[in-house]
C-alpha cells in the first residue's frame, strides 16, 4: 500500500508566542519548529502499516524552506520520500487553499491511504481532513484512535462524546489521526544518517496544478485581522480551610463578587 502523510511544520507547543508588529502574525524569532504532534501519530500509523504490509510512505507538506527540516525528520523515522510544495512568495493561504495544494500534489501520486493529524497546532483550524477528502473525492474518517486493517477497507475507532464509534471505511481514503492511536517513534541515528542522503522534492503550486492566484491573498476565504494573547494568569487565591463552613462561605463570596462566575 502507498501511504501519503501530510505534515504541518509548526511552532513547538512549548513556544512562548509573541505577536509580531502589525498584530496579525506571530513573531517567528527564536521559535523552535516541530512536526505537529498530531501529524506524528499519522506518520507513525503509516510507518507501522508499511512495516507490516509493505509499500511506501511519502511525507508531504506545504511550507517555506525551514519545513525541509520537518520532512527530513519524517525521512529519519522511516518515510521513503518527501515532497514540499514551496510557500515562498505566496502570501497568506487559508486552510482551503492548503487543502487544494495538497490535494493537487496527492493526485499525481499513487495513494491508498492519505494520513494527517486531526489538526496541526499552528492555526489549529481542524478542517483539513474533510476538505482534503472532498477535494480528492475520497471517504475520510477523523479523530482516529485505533485501526484494524481489512482487505480493501479499514475499521477505524473514534472517540466521540460519551461513546466510541467504529467506522468501516473503504480504501483509498483519508485518515485523521489523534492522540492515542500510537506512540510515535524516536528517529534512530541510523535513520537520521540515512535521511541525510535522501533528496527532498521541492515543487511549486503550479506543479500541484494550482494557480497561486486562486489560493493566496485576495482569493483566501479566511484572513486574520488581529491576534491577541490571552490575559496573563492571575495569582492563585488560597482560602484557608481550618473551618470548612467559613471557608465555603468565603469561597462562594469570592466566586460571586470577585470572579463574577456565579
Amino acid at each position: 500500500m502507498n501511504h501519503i502523510v501530510c505534515i504541518a511544520y509548526v511552532p513547538d507547543t512549548e513556544t512562548k508566542i509573541r505577536i509580531a508588529a502589525g498584530g496579525v502574525s506571530i513573531d517567528e524569532a527564536d521559535v523552535k519548529w516541530i512536526v505537529s504532534p498530531y501529524d506524528e501519530y499519522a506518520l507513525e500509523g503509516a510507518l507501522q502499516m508499511k512495516e507490516a504490509k509493505g509499500g511506501t510512505v511519502t511525507a508531504l507538506t506545504f511550507g517555506p524552506a525551514r519545513a525541509d527540516t520537518g520532512l527530513r525528520e519524517c525521512l529519519a523515522r522511516g518515510a521513503d520520500d518527501a515532497i514540499r510544495i514551496a510557500s515562498e512568495g505566496l502570501g497568506e493561504v487559508d486552510s482551503l487553499g492548503v487543502a487544494r495544494l495538497l490535494a493537487g500534489a496527492i493526485k499525481a501520486l499513487p495513494h491508498d491511504v492519505v494520513w494527517m493529524g486531526n489538526k496541526g497546532v499552528g492555526t489549529d483550524a481542524q478542517v483539513l481532513v474533510p476538505m482534503l477528502a472532498e477535494l480528492l473525492d475520497l471517504p475520510h474518517v477523523n479523530l482516529v484512535t485505533k485501526l484494524e486493517w481489512k482487505d480493501g477497507a479499514v475499521l477505524a475507532y473514534r472517540e466521540i462524546e460519551g461513546a466510541r464509534e467504529i467506522v468501516e471505511m473503504p480504501l483509498p481514503g483519508v485518515i485523521g489521526a489523534t492522540k492515542g492511536l500510537n506512540e510515535p517513534r524516536y528517529a534512530s541515528l541510523k535513520g537520521i544518517m540515512a535521511a541525510k542522503k535522501k533528496a527532498i522534492a521541492v515543487k511549486t503550486p503550479a506543479d500541484a496544478g494550482v494557480d497561486p492566484v486562486t489560493v493566496a491573498g485576495e482569493a483566501a476565504h479566511v484572513r486574520w485581522t488581529k491576534l491577541e494573547l490571552p490575559p496573563a494568569r492571575q495569582a492563585v487565591k488560597l482560602v484557608p480551610g481550618d473551618d470548612p463552613a467559613k471557608a465555603a462561605t468565603e469561597l462562594l463570596r469570592l466566586l460571586r463578587d470577585e470572579a463574577k462566575v456565579l
Binding site: 523552535k32 524516536y186 541515528l189
Partner: protein, 703 residues
Amino acid sequence: MTITPAQATYFGFSGTLLFALLLLGALTLFTYTASRRIQLLTLGGPPEDRLDHPLARLWHMAEYGLLQRKMFRDPYAGLYHALIFSGFLVLLLRTLMLVFEGLFPGAGLPFLPTGFWQGYLLVKDLVLVTTFAGVVLALARRHVAKKERLDPSFDADLILLLIGFLMVTDLGAGAAKMALDAAKSAALGATPSTALAQNALWEPLTYSLSKQFSFLSSSSLQAIYFGAWWAHLVAIFVFGNYLPFAKHFHVITALPNLFFAKLEPAGKMATFDIERAAEAEKFGVSKIEDFTWKQKLDMFTCTECGRCREVCPTHLTGKPLTPKGFMVDLRNALYADADALIDADAGRGDGSAEVALAARRPLIGGWIDEETIWACTTCRYCEHACPVGITFVDKITDLRRHLVLEKSSFPKEAQTAFNGMERQGNPWNLAASDRAAWTVDLPFPVLTMAEAADAKLAGGVEVLFWVGCAGSYEERGKRVSRSLARLLHEAGVTFAILGTEETCTGDAARRLGNEYLFQTLARQNVETMKGYGVTRIVTNCPHCFNTLANEYPDFGGTFEVMHGTELVSRLVREGRIRLVNGEARSLSFHDPCYLGRHNGVYDAPRELLNAIPGIVLKELPLSRGNGMCCGAGGGRMWLDETIGARVNQARFAEIEANGTDAVGVSCPFCMVMLGNAKTELAGRTEAYDVLELAAQALPAHPG
C-alpha cells in the same frame, strides 16, 4: 644421600623424562589456552590505546595490584587475600626451583649465592603455613560467616582446596625428605650433621613436621616424599591450566587489568566519531565481540567477589541489575561462543562458525535483559569498590547507545526528555525563552554574557555561572541558583550567565545512550562559550560540572570548572564572604555521585557546611566514596522506576535513621529525589542545598 623423585626410575622410565614430558604437556596446553584467550580478547571491537603514561600505569598497578589498597576496605578479606597473594608471589620462585630440580636433579640451585637460598627457604617455610591459613580463613568466610556478597561457588571451593593441597604437599614432601635424610644419617651412625642443624634453622616448620615423621620407616618416608613431590607438581600444572577457565583467571589478568586501567577522569564517557560510525552502520555494542579488548579483559578478570554490589542502588532495591551478575553474564556470553568467534575472525573453516554465530543467543535480550541495561544509575559505586579495576558504566552505556542510536528502543519516558533537550534545550521541555526567569526576584541584576560584553565591564567577567536546566526551571533549583548568585554578589565576584543562550549540557542524553543529541548540544555550548572567551565556569549541578570539566574538552572546550561549593568555600576561606547567621542544627550530608565518586570532590561541601554557624555535621554511614545514589543519575531522573523498591526511598530511609534535623545536598537531582522520598514516605528530614544554607547565613543587609 637421598635421591630426588626425578632421579628415580618408574616402570623403567627415567623420572626426569617423565617430568619433562609432564612439563611440556602442561606448558603446551597453557600456551594453547592463553593464545585462544588472547585471540578472543583482540578480535572485534574498536581499537583502544592503553599504553600512554606508562609510569602512571605502573604506579596504579603497584598501588592497587601489589599493595592491594582496595582489598583492606574489608579487613578480613584483605587479610586472607594478602596471605594467599603473598604466598603466590613467594612460591612462584619455589615452583621454579622445583621445576629446575625436576629437569636437572641434583644439580644444585644456580645463579644466586647460598645465603640467598637459605633466606628464601626460611621465608618459603613461613609462607607455606600462612598461605594455608589464608585458605582456611577464606573457606570459613564462604561456609561459616557466609558474607552476602559471596555466592556459593564450586570454582571458589575447588581453587581454595587446590591451593591448600599445594601447601600440604610442598610441606609434606619437604618434611618427608628431611626425615628421610635424618634417618639415613642416623643409620650410618653419624652424629647429627651440620646440614640437619641448618634445616632446623632455615626451614623450622618443615623441620618440626619432619620430627613428627621420625617413627616412619625409610621406605614409607620415601613413598611420602615422592608421592607428595609429584602430587605437588601435578597440582601446580592442573592449577595453572584451570585458571583461564574459571573466575580465578584474575590471578593472571588482574595486574594487567590494573596496568591498562582508565587514567582519564572517571566520569568521562568515551566519545565516538559519529560520521565514522555511520559509515560502518554500527553504533554502540550489540554483540559481545563489539566491546574493546580492555572491556573484554575486564570480563576475564572479574573474580565474583561481589564488592561491587554491596552499595549498588539497583541491587539494594531488588532490580535485575547487579554489577557482578552483569559482568558474569557478559563473560558467559563471551565464552559461550569463543570458538566460533575465533574461527570466524580468523576466516578459517567451512563457514560453520558464521552459521553458529548467526544462530547464537543474542547479547541484548538473550544474555542481558533490556531492563537490566536501563536500571543502572551510573553512580559508579561498583567501580569504586572493584579491587581489580573493572569498569561497568562504560559497558552499560555502550549497550544503551546501540538501543537508542540503532534500534530506537528505550523506555518511552526518555523520549519526552530527548524531545525537550532537542527542542527547548532542557529535559523538562519548558520554554527555552524562560531559561533566565529565575533571576527576576533578585535585588541586583544578573548580567548575561551578551549584556556583559556590550557593557564592556572593567576587568571583564571573572566567572561564568553555568546555571543548568534544574537551576533554571525546577522550583527548588531556582532558589538554589538565587542562593549562589547572592553569594557571588556578596563576595564581589563579577559573574554572568549565558541566559537563553545556555542549553542543556547533554549529560542525561549521553548517559541514556543518545550520543548524537549529546554531541549536538555539546558542540553548540562549546561554540557559545568560546564566542565569549569563557575560561572559568562555576556550576552547582554536579552533572553539568562533570560534563563541562571532563567531557567538553573532546569538543574543543577546555575550561576551569568549579562546583559551587568549591568556589564558595574558597571565598569564605579568603574572607570575601562572612557567614554569620545560623541556627543550631544537626545535619547529614548526602554525597552526589557525580561530585564525589566521579570527581573526587568530597571536602568542599563539608568545608562550607562547617563554616556555617550552628551546623553540626553528622556523617551518614554510607558517605563519601561509599555514598549511596539517590537514583537519578544516568538519566534515571527521566525514567519511571517500576521494578523493586525505589532507590530514593531506600536512601532517604538511611538518612532518616541518621537522626539529624536536616540533610544537606549538593545536586539539584538529589534534591528532587530526596524531596520526593520525604513526601512519599511522609518523612521528617528536610533537604537543603549547601548553598541555600550558606546564603541563609549571610549577614542581613539593611534595605
